[in-house]
Amino acid sequence: MIGQMLAQHRLAFSLVAARMRRAPLALLMMIAVIGVTLSLPAMLYVALENLQRLAGGFQTAPQISLFLAMSAPEDQIKEIDARLDKHAGITTHRFVSRDEAWQKMQQSTGLAEITGGLEQNPLPDAYVIETKTGDPAAIERLQQEMQQWPGVEHAQLDAVWIKRLHGLLELGNKLVLVIAGLLGFALLIITGNSIRLQIATQREEIELSRLIGATDRFIRRPFLYAGTLYGIGGGLSALLILVGAVWLFNESVTELARLYASDFRLLMPTADVSLALVGGSALLGWIGSYVAVNRALADIERY
């Protein structure tokens, strides 16, 4: 029973393979169309992934850094501390003494050379403050307020731009979803249409098969194979385009990153992403041809 089922599938597969061998150009064109269509959202996705990785390297929690004046006397610092304690718009505040900051700076890689050249600690005392609100405008008002306090040299917004970047990335993610959805729909139509044309050339065979006892499943099978193979081929070619693009971009990205003393480079699509790309493409091909065959069968059916 299982042997017979396998044999049936092998039969359908070899039938499709023979048809494709007879029209290699049509096959190549289908695969190219699917590959190019899919590579667009895939490239966007990989670009976003990499940007997110880059943004994830930054701290996101602290929002205002309060640098005190070097000359600020002890009681002024105490006053600031008291104000921060009472302030309604603040969740936490942490005092970072100039010595502590200096030590950290000396330990951090890449900065040791700079600190080594300095005779004395140039850093001021500082407070790191987390605000209650995440709203950039409210944080900016807080920053302006603190800037006015005596003893404060500079109040700096730290992470707002990162928040904005995250917001943008979020937007980008949604954009990728929408584009992938739309192009996926286009692919359904493309494969469906190609299968519909194949059905038209094989209409006699389908009609005859129906008359002598073929089930719908039997008639559908080779077309589903064709659609799925288109999908797999298209997905693989999209992957190839993607890898090629990342490789090409990396030439420039690493060069640029070196100028900023970073070893950042674009990562190739992961195994998960590759599998999802090829698998999703295969699924789209299958669905597209399933719909096309069922519509054709409904047309032919008279019994």
């Binding site: 017979q4 044999a7 049936q8 092998r10 039969l11 006699e204 065979e205 009609e207 005859l208 098969s209 129906r210 008359l211 002598i212 006892g213 073929a214 089930t215 039997f218 008279r302 019994y303």
Partner: protein
């Protein structure tokens, strides 16, 4: 084996092809369906082979009521029949061998076993040496024999032929008739529609004569 009980077939548009038809065909019988063109011969064969459903009465094949058959069960009923169509319905994009292979593939017979049966069927109709030929290169009589090989390759219990000798000259026609007779002799139920009543006489068998959709 085949039982018609007050069967009628009314086509959309009001054309009544068959009226109140009742008859029975036993297993292993040889039956000729005769009558002028338009008398309902093809419709009768289509009702038997479950290619169309009756609009009145019941058609029983074995013990199955064709009019009440679920759509999904229809293909399996159709596999009981070997059909020779009036217009052959050969597939001209593939070889003689592949034409005969189709019913076997539909029945799930593939590979070596299929090859054996295909060659046996081709041998039976005298086309074994032409297995790699394309159907378009065959003569009219050879194409008809190819259609017969395709009809019998899956060893159906009932063989149905619609005007199998219509476009053949007399020598070819009698060859074809002998072929059908030989299937009848090995126990296959054979139904042949023909407008040419005298050709059927020499082989014995029963005649169902149709006129204006009724048995006469």
């Amino acid at each position: 084996m085949i039982k018609f009980d007050r069967v009628g077939k009314l086509y959309p548009g009001g054309y009544e092809a068959l009226k109140n038809l009742s008859f029975e065909i036993e297993k292993g019988e040889l039956v000729f369906v005769t009558g002028h063109s338009g008398a309902g011969k093809s419709t009768l064969l289509k009702l038997i082979a479950a290619l169309e459903r009756p609009t009145a009465g019941t058609v029983l094949i074995g013990n199955q009521n064709v009019s009440k058959l679920r759509r999904a069960a229809v293909p399996f009923l159709r596999r009981k029949f070997g059909l020779v169509f009036q217009d052959h319905k050969l597939l001209y994009d593939r070889t003689v061998f592949d034409n005969v292979a189709l019913p076997l593939h539909i029945n799930g017979v593939v590979g070596h076993e299929a090859g054996k049966r295909i060659r046996a069927a081709l041998d039976k109709v005298g086309l074994l040496s032409r297995e790699k030929a394309m159907p378009i290169t065959l003569s009219g009589g050879e194409q008809q024999r190819l259609a017969i090989a395709r009809a019998v390759v899956s060893r159906p219990a009932i063989l149905i032929a619609d005007e199998p000798t219509a476009n053949l000259d007399e020598t070819y026609a009698s060859e074809i008739m002998k072929l059908f007779h030989s299937f009848h002799q090995v126990g296959v139920t054979v139904l042949i529609a023909t407008h040419d009543a005298h050709g059927s006489m020499e082989f014995g068998g029963r005649t169902l004569h149709l006129a204006q959709g009724e048995l006469r």
